[in-house]
Symmetry: C2
């Protein structure tokens, strides 16, 4: 039997500003052999997420930066190809962190077995995975929307924003989504059922957002920053809550993009005069029990048709770099994943 | 009997940037006559506080802007000169909001009788008044310092900052004060007993602050902003709390002072990656019960010698405008009050 080759994508150089295709390198290497207690994973689906831009940067952040030459990190759905571990057997489908590669070794740590009869496995990378949990803990623990309050969600068609808005609706809030372009806006309004949607590409976006929020904003789920934040800021109500989950508009910025004007004083002034709470968070800040609760509750919402999602599937691992570059510019439409297998 | 004249200071024009003496006007008018149910207050001491800069501006804030020609607002200690109100009698000393004038009418609403035997009445404008309560609720409700944590306080010799730091010490935190100039720094270290003090006038201030905080910053009590914030930001620890109480460095800014660079992205990035909580507040956001608790607890700390204060006394109401202008530039040393009487 000829052993198949492993295809993998490594970090070739640290991106400066917008990542380039040449910041990544596709390599072909032998497939590793599992030792006793190990298993060989065959990746089926790779998740692409905005946090990856942070991991390839050497700026200080919540995670250790990747080194040049490292296999790109990422959540994956994989099939157990070969098992020399008593708890796992060939054919098991598992949520894993195999990264941008076709085959990976594992000792079982951090794997979760998925039952394809329950939900499509790739949902464990999206609506029932890290993005869904991020939406759940950020909105409920920090945003704390009350019935009738006005919740604004940016990147509303994306993996996190789409879940934030739907949970806020379930909790009785009035939800305004922000998305880029007519197709995404139609999806957010018609498929996801947000109350109102505003297109941030519109030249009069700030005015349109103000019109969409006649009673102001009580919760703004921040995963964008940039010009969206500028439009949100003057609309925040007294005691508004702002979970800070992401800043995708800034991720590709270099120092030259920060020339001015200085937007900090206006933000600080509103924080003080409106008594706003801003709180940054990442999904790992919260107790494991809340993840179990989320999986139960969100599974139920899906069965009841209250929680919907959309996947944007890219074919082939060698196309992952371009797909990530596009994600950082809002080109994806729904949860972005890469189909890795044949 | 010749009725004495009332001296008062009114807002003559809205300041643009740094207030000028001509933005205020001193007027002499007849002393009003109390009607039935009213009393005439004779002001002894006027409190000058940074919030007054907001009240003379017409920018949106938590309070309604003053109108041109209005008597300047302000907390006062007054003596009841004449009472036609059953609950008050001539000679009572009361905490009141008579503003920048020698005499004012009152129907008793919002007055609090003070016992000069308990504490000097002017402490009700400072350590036992609004500034002290502001320090107490902001530090304990939002900052939540734990024993051994590092608390940094700007404007550490001022009315609020001095109390913040002393309470943080009482609660077992390590406290680093920031003050302007060697005299204030000596006072903060030696009289108030902060662990370390850093002079923000020093050319290497940011480096000195970093050296003073080898374990980072867990709580930063923000009442300054400006270049102090820039030095604090990179030192904030994971899960740091930032009660936003004031932004005195920005209060006199006009649009031209905000040319750049844009400091917002760096702040947002730290909020996210360090999972920082920033929360604006004003003293009136908290329940009345906490004020009663504060008066009890702080009174006890004063009797035990754990809570000290310093007053900066300006003589004569006609000097209040220059004193307020100086306060906004950090020229006061301790709680700034004006002695109004002869």
């Amino acid at each position: 039997m000829t052993q198949p080759q492993n295809l993998r994508v490594v970090l070739a150089s640290r991106p400066v500003g917008r990542p380039k295709a040449t910041d990544f390198r596709v390599e072909r290497v032998p497939v590793p052999e599992p030792a006793d207690g190990q298993l060989l994973l065959e990746v089926q689906t790779l998740s692409l997420d905005p946090y990856m831009r942070w991991r390839v940067s050497d700026e200080k952040s919540y995670a250790t930066p990747m080194e040049i030459g490292d296999v790109m990190v990422g959540g994956t759905i994989a099939r157990v190809h070969t098992s020399r571990h008593p708890d796992w057997r060939e054919g098991d489908i598992v949520l894993s962190s195999a990264g941008w590669q076709r085959y990976a070794l594992s000792d079982g740590t951090g794997l979760r077995r998925l039952d394809p009869a329950n939900a499509p496995p790739s949902t464990a990378l999206g609506v029932l995975g890290m993005p869904g949990l991020t939406a759940y803990v950020g909105l409920l623990n920090i945003g704390q929307p009350k019935p009738g309050e006005n919740v604004v969600v940016a990147a509303a068609s994306g993996a996190v924003g789409s879940v934030v808005g739907q949970i806020a609706r379930i909790k009785g809030a009035r939800v305004v989504g922000i998305a880029g372009g007519p197709e995404k806006c139609a999806f957010v309004k018609e498929e996801l059922g947000f109350d109102v949607v505003v297109d941030h590409h519109a030249p009069d976006f700030a005015q349109k957002l103000a019109e969409a929020c006649p009673d102001g904003i009580d919760v703004y789920f921040e995963n964008v920053s940039g010009h969206v934040w500028d439009a949100v800021l003057p609309l925040l109500n007294d005691f508004a809550r702002v979970p800070v989950c992401g800043l995708i508009a800034n991720y590709n910025d270099g120092p030259a993009d920060r020339s001015g004007p200085d937007r900090l004083p206006a933000t600080m002034r509103e924080i003080l005069s409106r008594r706003i709470t801003m709180k940054g968070f990442i999904v790992f800040d919260f107790p494991k029990e809340q993840e179990d609760e989320f999986l139960n509750v969100a599974g139920q919402w899906i069965r009841e048709g209250k929680l919907r999602w959309r996947e944007d599937v890219v074919e082939g691992l060698e196309n992952a770099p371009e797909a990530l570059i596009g994600l950082l510019e809002g080109k994806n439409f729904g949860k972005l994943v890469v189909r890795v297998g044949d």
